[in-house]
Every structure is written in C-alpha cells, then in structure tokens.
C-alpha cells in the first residue's frame, strides 16, 4: 500500500495556511483589525511548524534510506556517509526549494516573535510579503516538484549524490548562501510594508539593519565558501570562473553592499529615500533571479545539477514581484521626496554616492555579461560566449576604483571636508601607498595592474590603521587608559564604525589574493615517468609513482609527488583521481601545500598504465591564502558591527544620533 507521507500532508496544509495568512494579514492591515493581523501571524507560525515537519520528514527519508521516495533514490545511496546524506536535502531541486522555504519560514517566525509589540503598523504587510514569497515556494513544492513523490517500485539502491557535491564545503556553502539570499527578503518585506503604509521615515531601515547585515554576512561567506570549494574541488587551479551562477550570487551581494553604505546617508541626513528603496528591491529581485538562473538552466553553468522546467514559474514570480514593488515605489514617489542637500562635493555623502555608483555599475556589468549570450542569440541568432576574460577585463578597473574609494570614503568628513583635514587624513596613507610602489619596483615587480592594486591595498590599510591609532591615542589622552585598553574600548563603543573598518581590512586581504593569483600565478603541465622531476617556481617536483585502492563507494588512484626545495625534500603530495561507482563519474582530488599564503597546487591529470607516465598539472598561486583570511577578518568585523550594544548604551547612542541628525538638519 502506498503510505501517505506526513511531509506531503504538512506541505499542503502549509500552502493553505500561507494563503489564509496572506489574505487576513492584508485585510487586517488595511482594515486596522488587530485580531486579523494576529491571526495572520499565527498562520505564519503554524506554517513554519509544518514546513519544519516536512523538512524533518524528508531528512528522515534520506537518513533511513527510504529509496521508494524518488528524491531519496535520486540523490543518495546506501553507502553515502551520513553528513552528505543529510546535505542531500539541498543536493537536488525539490529538497533545495524545501530547504530554502524552511529558512524563509524560520526567519519570518523569528521576525514575527520579535515584533509582537513593536512595528504594529508595518507588521501586517511584512508578514503578508513574507507569506507571499512562501506561498510561491509552497506552490512549487505542492504542484510542480513535490519532494515526497514515491516510485511505483522500490529500487535496491539509490543513484547517489553527485560526486562533485561530496565535499565538506557542501555542508556549509549552500546553507550560508541560502541564509544570505533569504535574509534579503526581510529588508524587502519591510520596504514594501513601508511603501504600502506610507510610513517612509527611516524606521523601517533601523528595524532591519541587523537583518540586512545578517543577510550580507552570509552572502559574503557563501560566496567565499563557494570560491574555496571550487578551488579545492574543480582542480583547474582557480577559484572564480564567472560562471552564471557565481555571478548570480555576486550580484545581490554587490547591491546589498551598496545599500549598507547608502543607508548611512539616510540615517544621518534623511536623504536618498528613493534610492535606498530601489536598492533593497533590486537586491531581492536579484536573489530570485539568481535562483531562477540556477534552477532554469537557461544559461549553462557548472551548477546545473538540478535544472528543470521551473524557469517560467520563476520568471512569472520575478515579474510579479518587480511590477508590484516598482509600482508601489512610483505610487509613493511624492512622499519619498526628501530634503536633499549637500554642503560640499568634498564630503563623505558624495564619496558614498560614488561608491554606490561603482557598486551598481559592477553589478550591472556582471548582469550584462551574464545575459549577453541570450541577447546575442535573440538579436543576431548567433550563440556567443561571454567568459572569464570579459569579466576580468571589465571588472578589474571598477574593482580598483572601489578599492580606492574604500580608503578615501571613511576618512572624508561628513558634510564638508576642508583641504587641511584632507591633508591630515591622507598624508601618511599616501606616503605608504607610494612607498609600496617604490618597494615593489625595487623588488622587480613591473606588472601595472598589480602595482596599482598593491599600492591601493597599502593605502587603504594605512588609512584604517591610522584611524585606529588616532582614535586610541585620543582616548588615551582624554581618559588615561593604556593603549590596548583604549583600542578595545574604542571598538566596543563604536562597534558600527570600527567593525566596518575591520570588514574593510578583510576586503583588502581578498583583493591581495585576487591580485596575487591573477598577476603572478605560475603553471606547468608535464608528462613524467616515475623518478622524473620538473621545476615550478622555487620547487622541484618528483613523480614517485602511483598507488591504487578501492572503497565501497569509489576507486582511488593517488600519485606520490615529492616536493623538493634547494635539493631537500620538504613535503610529499598525493593528488588523487577518483572514480565514483554510482553514478560512474570521475573526480579529481587536488593536493595543496600552503606556505605563507602561497599555494603549491598539484593535480594528477591522467596516468597511463602501459607507459607508466603521468600527466601532472602544477600551479603556484601566490597570496591565495589571503582569500580565507580575508573571509575570517570580514566575518569578525561583521560580527562586531552586528553585536548588540548593551541597552543603556544603545539608548545613549540613539539619543546622540538623533541629536546629531537634528543639528545636521537644522
């Protein structure tokens, strides 16, 4: 007998609840009927519980190896290790949509519980928006790709998870990206609610600041994890291929970053209301566009693990969301007119505006390059490729401009900067930047892009160090603390500002990694017999033969490669080739020796039994280690920024901010 799955039932009831909640939230919001609004919120909470049950049921199916479930048979097998079995939840289409929905519902539930007494005017429309998004995903899960479809027979074994996905990054890269993607719906929901209710002061922005930072944090980490994953697994020596799906994850990050900056102008000076709305809406639409790219297969991609006919649904949802939000924005335009005033072009406001322009320009360039093949085919009927050379060339100058602004922006005074204050701020950083160029030239580095990038990195770092130094010295002289104490207090009292500087330091490290690997990478492809050696950079690599072994899951072939430096053996690397059994698919396992941020990266290309010769690919990736360090620093900075201040202090700083705002306005 076909048993009916708890999860399937839970999903259909959740669909009904989402629809009900959407209707009563809107009704309650417009009719000012609190009991209806509460009822909508309760529907949301119940929906969250049901989606949790459905997810738990699918995970249970996976872990208990219930191969009668089509999803389980498709994306796992009896030999798949437990953690990948759980991760298979987001390894396939239906599961990943369910996982996405679970995150959305969980965030919505937290939001509703947080705002039981706060934001009562906005909340009905916030819940309605989130319920609307949830309803879309629930519709897909109920009517288009049900995760609980059962097969007419029970196969003895599953087809297993794609071997490329069987990597520890699989357990963290998709969840963090999803958290980032879904997190962007919270500010979007608040923005829509503000537009609907006409409460267009910066209240909605203050209510969502932490959520936006939270989403940004996970978007950043998700992208970095993806890069590190690609680097370790795909084995082509690089970490970013400008693949459409990578681009799809980068675009909302760019617009979200722009928003995090421009929002400060609205908080300080009550300007740019329309622009901030537009950025939030754009970010949300880009997250949906990203999911569309991943799921539709319109543009071929390394992420096309799970493509299907979902494209039209996503396009329809995208258009609907775009029409609704843009329509509301236009409708409220008269209310959004703000008192824009600018004291001087030499001010932080102006620097932030240029920063926004560049962020959005990069996002546009990435978007344009991603869809240009489709445009070309539509217009000329000719298929073309827009690959890494295009993106690198277009984005390199924009990225460097951004790096420059990162040094300049935070140090220019609000309102109006005087030439003397500029000199005071930039004297030393400029000297450091110029010194960096001189030092690099003396070391024989003539690569123009690298010179520009490194000197800008030095410049930005100097501005940040100088800020910490001056701030701490000032505290020291006023309060009389020790330098270390003063530094800690300085950061503690201005989490937002100094956390932001630390994030900038992380970004500098990422720039170092990008510059090092794109300008100074060395690569070597050789065919060697046992005992033969070849040179790459400072290293000499000797091929000492291969070993082969089997597990239930896969067949392995590993090479022994001795790493010599100045004639002394310093390491032995074991790059591997694997053949997974179900489905039969080859994979590479690269071997990496990391020293001082520079990687020696070795891939076993192929091995010919008859001649006993191996094809080895070796790369030296200078400064690549800075990518992970940059991620860590960036994460630490974001956590400092996001960490709640103690209540008394928060009130104090709120009051101070308002005083500042009033005097800035008056």
């Amino acid at each position: 007998m076909q048993n009916i799955d708890v999860g399937a039932v839970a999903l259909s009831v959740a669909w009904l609840l989402a629809l009900y909640g959407l209707v009563v939230s809107l009704w309650g919001g417009w009719g000012r009927r609190e009991e209806l609004v509460r009822s909508g919120e309760h529907a949301l909470l119940a929906m969250w519980a049901l989606v949790t049950i459905a997810t738990a049921d699918l995970v249970h199916g996976l872990v208990s190896r219930d191969f009668n479930l089509e999803y389980v048979a498709q994306y796992s097998s009896s030999t798949l290790p437990l953690h990948y079995t759980v991760a298979a939840l987001w390894g396939g289409q239906a599961g990943s949509l369910l996982f996405w929905l679970l995150i959305l519902c969980s965030m919505s539930a937290v939001l509703v519980l947080q705002n039981r007494t706060a934001n009562r005017v906005l909340m009905p429309f916030v819940s309605a928006t989130l319920l609307g998004v949830a309803l879309f995903f629930l519709s897909l899960l109920n009517f288009v790709t049900p995760p609980f479809d059962r097969l007419p027979f029970t196969p003895g074994e599953g087809r297993d998870l794609n071997p490329l996905l069987q990597n520890y990054w699989m357990t963290i890269h998709p969840p963090s990206l999803y958290l980032g993607y879904v997190g962007c719906s919270v500010p979007f929901a608040f923005a829509l609610a503000a537009l609907i209710t006409g409460r267009l002061d910066d209240h909605w922005i203050r209510s969502t600041r932490r959520w936006t930072l939270f989403a940004w944090f996970f978007l950043s980490l998700g992208n970095l994890f993806g890069a590190l994953w690609a680097y370790r697994v795909l084995g082509w020596g690089g970490y970013w291929a400008w693949d459409p799906v990578e681009n799809a994850a980068l675009m909302p990050w760019l617009t979200c970053t722009a928003f995090l900056h421009s929002v400060m102008i609205q908080e300080k000076k009550n300007m740019l209301k329309v622009w901030n709305m537009a950025l939030v809406i754009l970010t949300f639409l880009l997250t949906i566009f990203g999911t569309f790219l991943t799921r539709s297969g319109v543009i071929s991609s390394v992420h096309s693990f799970t493509q299907s006919g979902l494209g039209p649904f996503f396009i329809a949802f995208l258009l609907l969301a775009a029409a609704l939000s843009v329509g509301l924005l236009l409708y409220r335009l008269p209310l959004l007119r703000s008192e824009n005033e600018l004291d001087s072009i030499l001010s932080r406001e102006a620097a932030f505006l240029v920063n926004n322009l560049v962020f959005v320009a990069i996002a546009f360039a990435v978007f344009w390059g991603t869809i240009f093949p489709v445009i070309s085919e539509a217009v000329r009927g000719v298929k073309i490729t827009v690959g890494p050379p295009f993106f690198n060339r277009v984005n390199a100058p924009l990225g460097l401009l951004l790096l420059f602004l990162m040094g300049v922006g935070p140090l220019i005074a609000w309102r109006r900067a005087s030439w003397s204050s500029l000199r005071r701020s930039f004297q030393w950083p400029a000297v450091v930047g110029a010194g960096c160029v001189a030092a690099l030239l003396a070391m024989g580095v003539w690569h123009a892009w690298a010179l520009v990038s490194f000197s800008l990195c030095a410049f930005v770092t100097a501005t940040i160090v100088q800020e910490f130094w001056r701030g701490a010295r000032a505290r020291q002289s006023i309060v009389g603390e020790s330098f270390g104490q003063a530094l800690a207090r300085l950061v503690g009292k201005n989490r937002r500002r100094y956390g932001g500087y630390i994030v900038h330091l992380g970004v500098v490290l990422v720039f170092l990694a990008i510059t090092g690997t794109s300008a100074f990478r060395i690569e070597q492809q050789v065919v060697v017999k046992r005992g033969e050696a070849f040179r790459i950079g400072d290293y000499q690599l000797r091929f000492d033969g291969v070993r082969a072994w089997q597990t239930d899951h896969s067949a392995h072939l590993a090479a022994d490669i001795a790493v010599l430096r100045d004639g002394r053996m310093v390491d032995v690397l074991h790059p591997e080739k694997r053949l997974y059994k179900k489905p039969e698919q080859p994979a590479t396992e690269v071997a990496i020796r990391s020293r001082w941020g520079t990687d020696l990266y070795v891939v076993l290309g192929s091995f010919d039994e008859k001649s006993g010769s191996a094809t080895i690919l070796a790369y030296i990736n200078p400064l690549i280690g800075m990518l992970a360090w940059g991620g860590l620093v960036l994460a630490a900075g974001t956590l400092i920024t996001i960490w709640p201040q103690r209540r008394a202090r928060a009130v104090e700083s709120w009051a101070a901010e308002h005083r500042g705002q009033r005097s800035a306005e008056g």
């Binding site: 390394v302 824009n340 072009i345 690959g387 277009v394 080859p586």
Partner: protein, 162 residues
C-alpha cells in the same frame, strides 16, 4: 567633479579598448587557449578545462599548436576557429558589430550614472547655497552668524569623530 568624470572616461577607454587585438607580438599558446572556450560544457576556457580525456579541450589544444606551427597570426588562428566552430568558441565577445555593445554598455551606464550623479550633486549643492544666502541675517550680522556657524561646525566635527 570634473576630475571624476574625466577619470571615469579615461578608465573606460583604457579598458574597453581590447589591448591584444592586432598586436604584433607572436601569439602565445596560453593566450590562444584562454581566448577559446572549451565545448565540453565545463564553461571554462580551453586553457583551464582539466577534464580527464576531455573530448573538446584536448583536441582543441592540439589544433591550436598545429595552427601556430603553420605560422599563422593570432587573428588568423582565431578566425580559423570561429569559421570552424562558430562564434561561441571565443571566450569573450569580439569588438565588432553588435558585440561592441557587450563591452561598451557597462561603461556607458557607468558614465551615464556618473553624469546623473554630477547633475544631482550640483543641484543639491545649489539648493544648499541658495538657502544659506537667502538668510536675512547674512548681511547685517554676518560676523555673528559666521562665528556660530564655525562653532557648530566644530561641534559637529567633534561629535562625528568620537
């Protein structure tokens, strides 16, 4: 603001001009391999694709070498590949015809955005100047106003620096 527009235009020109086109340097294998896309579906360039026994990258690499040995120029070799496999083999759009749009649109948008920004900043700046010059106190007790203004500026600065 003028310096900014000029800098943006300069950068745009610098980058949009495809540097390696028609250069006299002898073509390098790596450059050619990076100019062509592997057709196996990996989405990488012929240079980067590392699929074992890749049915596309490996023959293409061989073909590049043959073309080079025949003493052809970079342009001739790329034309050969386009004629044989279609334009999709190139890893980046050419700088001809419709494809020019691929390269120029991002910078055009940046320039337009920059221009818009300049216009808006000027307007806001003017509003501000109008407001301050329209003040009735300005002429009569200008020194006093200035003194207060300076004081306000100082305090604001101190507030922002803490």
């Amino acid at each position: 603001m003028r310096w900014l527009s000029a800098a943006l235009c300069g950068v745009a020109l610098l980058v949009a001009a495809p540097s390696s086109y028609g250069s006299a340097r002898p073509p390098s294998i790596q450059d050619l391999e990076e100019s062509l896309t592997c057709q196996c579906g990996c989405g990488l360039t012929v240079h980067s694709c590392n699929h074992v026994d890749c049915s596309s990258a490996i023959p293409l690499r061989k073909e590049i070498r043959e073309q080079l040995e025949a003493g052809k120029s970079r342009e001739q070799i790329l034309r050969h590949f386009v004629e044989k496999y279609g334009e999709k083999i190139l890893s980046a759009p050419t700088f001809q015809g419709f494809n020019v749009l691929a390269w120029t649109t991002p910078f055009l948008m940046l320039a337009l955005g920059g221009l818009g920004l300049v216009v808006i900043l000027r307007r806001w700046g003017r509003q501000e100047r109008n407001r301050s010059s329209a003040g009735p106190l300005e002429s009569t007790r200008s020194t006093l106003v200035e003194r207060y203004q300076r004081k306000l500026e100082d305090e604001l600065k101190r507030f922002e620096e803490v």
